[in-house]
Amino acid sequence: MPGNNVVERVRALVQTFLETDLVRLRIERDGGHVELRRRASSRLATAETAEPQMQAPPVENLDEIKSDLVGIFRFSRPAPIVGELLDSDRELAYVEALGIRNPVRSLGSGRLVSVCCDDGQPVEYGQTLFEVARV
């Protein structure tokens, strides 16, 4: 059955996606497309499984990047991936408020330890958006 075939193929794709660190995967073919996105919480869980040693150092060097305004949180592209090394002025995301994109930057180099918000989530002043281990 063609329908079952599509379900099987998507299931396989999801399985493959989950085995990677990818945040977003989009495949276009014959005018149609499939897009997979990973939620922030699941990304944190992946990081804990894949690199448990990352949980040890944050005590001393963990830095929280917080929102300084109220708006909708959105990832910049390419979206940051937990575990990756960040440049000192990397734009990680933006908070959209009153139609303006307010960039959220890495504010120094470091390794991204966790992403604390989902794409499209409303965020308040002072809310932690990312945790970065400064190196």
């Binding site: 305004l69 009153l98 409303p122 308040e124 002043y125």
Partner: protein
């Protein structure tokens, strides 16, 4: 009716608005600053968003964060309460520009009345008597010339002002420069607008105000007067009552007639208050507050009308459900403001933690408060902790009930104004209802001397 209202305020008035919304079946969104995270208005709202750090300029006055909160939570209206952005015409206009109903009068009316110097000009044109005074004073030199023309003593006032902020009595030319600078700084800090104007000081008047409600269809009703003459030296009110004691029919009719003329002149809609100075039989318009007042509960008690619900209904486009002839006051109500203040130190604000609190109850007592045992009182905001309101069939009964209620009240951990309120209630002047705005400062001076 609105589906969801953002409450752009904190403290007891945020809680008061939340209650009105809930009873009308309207959902609420609270905003709060970081030190207010555990505040009651945050707990009781359907949703709550932190909009900034402690200083009001970066939180409760942060228009971008407040509007953004309203939009991302899909509110259809904003209630500003009193203070903060309640009389900021730009904020009202920005709300309208973003499709948010501002629960108050239109921005242009706020601008007209909010600029106190302009308001007085408009009132003079409407044949409402005003105190002799000036337009905006751009400099100390202009203030000095104006004071010479008016004759000392004079009063410097913030054109964006209210609540006694940015106001200074100037007895003579030696005091002018210092008073001008301090009033300007205080007005700038409080309202982001340091412009001042000057009035001839009416010596020892009563401060009496009239409550107005207008809908969007041209209907205006008056809900009587409140006497707010028990004021601290900073001109902030401590005790208010409705109706005013010992007010002649002639003066009352003059007040109400002026209030109606003034409201009609600006096509007023929503809740507003016209403040007057009364000296003998003379009545002078002072200013119009285009918002709900702190002391609105005394009017609610004698008219049995929920003014905050009326504000919301009017903003939602509903007509007033009654006419002036339907409104019949009954009894007498008194409000005491319980502030976190050190009355022995010129009512200096006293921040801290409320370690224990017990509020009064029983017949005829209403308490509007946001505090609880363990609540913190941040240093950034108005020091109001609670409003205790007593209702009685007569003024004497209301005073007796208020005294009883204040003695039942326990607030530990911070200094409060309970003792000063009790002291006022026991004076011959208050009991007889014969007091002016000089009454409380004189009482304090007597205490200091003793």
């Amino acid at each position: 009716m609105f589906k969801k209202v953002l409450i752009a305020n904190r403290g007891e008035i945020a809680l008061r608005i939340n209650r009105a919304c809930r009873e009308l079946g309207v959902k609420t969104v609270a905003i709060f600053s970081e030190p207010d995270r555990e505040s009651l208005h945050v707990r009781h709202a359907n949703e709550a968003f932190c909009v900034g750090p402690g200083p009001a300029a970066r939180s409760y006055l942060s228009i971008p964060n407040i509007i953004s909160t309203a939009l991302i939570t899909h509110c259809d209206a904003v209630h500003p309460g009193y203070g903060f952005l309640a009389e900021n015409a730009r904020f009202a206009q920005i709300c309208a520009d973003h499709g948010l109903a501002f629960i108050g009068p239109p921005a242009e009316v706020i601008a007209m009345m909010g600029d106190k110097a302009t308001a007085k000009r408009v009132m003079r044109e409407a044949k409402v008597e005003t105190t002799p005074g000036t337009d905006i004073l751009e400099s100390v030199d202009k203030a000095r010339r104006a004071a010479r023309d008016l004759g000392y003593p004079v009063l410097l006032k913030a054109t964006a002002g209210g609540g006694g902020k940015g106001m200074r009595v100037v007895a003579g030319p030696d005091e002018l420069e210092r008073a001008f600078n301090s009033a300007q700084n205080e007005a700038e800090a409080s309202f982001k607008d340091g412009r001042l104007y000057m009035e001839k000081l009416i010596v020892s008047p009563r401060h009496i105000e009239v409550q107005v409600l207008g809908d969007n269809f041209g209907n205006i009703v008056l809900l009587g007067e409140r006497d707010c003459s028990v004021q601290k030296p900073s001109h902030q009110k401590l005790i208010e009552e409705a109706p005013a004691a010992n007010l002649s029919d002639k003066v009352r009719q003059s007040l109400l007639a002026m209030a109606l003329r003034a409201s009609q002149a600006v096509h007023y809609s929503n809740a507003g208050t016209l403040e007057f100075l009364v000296s003998g039989d003379r009545v002078y318009f002072m200013e119009m507050n285009t918002r709900i007042q702190v002391e609105h509960p005394v009017t609610e008690m004698v008219y049995n009308i929920d003014l905050v619900k009326e504000q919301i209904r009017i903003a939602a486009g509903e007509p007033l459900g009654y006419t002036q002839a339907d409104l019949k006051p009954r009894g007498h109500a008194i409000e005491c403001r319980i502030n976190a203040e050190d009355a022995r130190n010129n009512f200096a604000p006293a921040a801290g933690t409320v370690t224990n609190v017990v509020f009064p109850g029983g017949p005829g007592i209403r308490v509007d408060t946001h505090i609880y045992s363990g609540a913190t009182v941040p240093p950034y905001y108005d020091s109001l902790l609670a409003k205790i309101v007593a209702f009685g069939e007569t003024r004497e009964a209301a005073i007796a009930r208020m005294e009883r209620a204040l003695r039942e009240t326990i607030i530990e951990g911070v200094n409060t104004t309970i003792a000063q309120c009790l002291e006022v209630l026991a004076t011959d002047a208050f009991i007889k209802g014969r007091y002016t705005i000089d009454f409380l400062p004189a009482l304090m001076r007597r205490d200091d001397a003793a």
